[in-house]
Amino acid sequence: GIQVEQSPPDLILQEGANSTLRCNFSDSVNNLQWFHQNPWGQLINLFYIPSGTKQNGRLSATTVATERYSLLYISSSQTTDSGVYFCAVEQSYNTDKLIFGTGTRLQVFP
């Protein structure tokens, strides 16, 4: 099956710093989403981004489907950004099954 790898696995930042999280996938995808899991375990969808670039406040994401990767940018990080960031991909047109990556654990300190 498709492999979804994220890097870095762990990231520690001071408040105000910028960061880039990467998601690589091993096959063509029909769908790619980024999620944030807060320290209480709740998963929140950040972006639905099978291709192109989107921005939402301090967050933006870019997916280059032909090169099989996606990037999540966090600017001016805040302590509330802490948690785990997952990307998830849908492998084919025949199923909406989302396969999750390994995650990047982000800790932002004041």
Binding site: L43, N45, D96, F100, G103
Partner: protein, 119 residues
């Protein structure tokens, strides 16, 4: 309700007992997913329901695990003869109807999970 609802939120059970976890998806959502997340780990796909189609059970780890979805809405995940390695958070998610064949999928929405501890 406004979001995906799961129950119980926490469950402690003795090894060997059966447990049932319930998921009530967002109204109108045709797709329903179950994932499992062990402590500090990523999300492991378990099973996927889409409308009236046969479910994708490819992620169920053993025949002790089964899931049903009645009336295209509420789903129940059943774990028989629980083992300690079944301890995890079981997450349910739902998404709206697909936009059509060949179209990209939709955003999925997660519940808060059912925390299962097998002692």
């Amino acid at each position: 309700g406004a979001g995906v609802s799961q129950s119980p939120s926490n469950k402690v059970t003795e090894k060997g007992k059966d447990v049932e976890l319930r998921c009530d998806p967002i109204s109108g959502h045709t797709a329903l997913y179950w994932y499992r997340q062990s402590l500090g780990q990523g999300l492991e796909f378990l099973i996927y329901f889409q409308g009236n189609s046969a479910p994708d059970k490819s992620g169920l780890p053993s025949d002790r695990f089964s899931a049903e979805r009645t009336g295209g809405s509420v789903s129940t995940l059943t774990i028989q003869r629980t083992q300690q390695e079944d301890s995890a958070v079981y997450l349910c998610a739902s998404s709206p109807p697909a936009r059509g064949f060949g179209q990209p999928g939709n955003t999925i929405y997660f519940g808060e999970g059912s925390w299962l501890t097998v002692v």
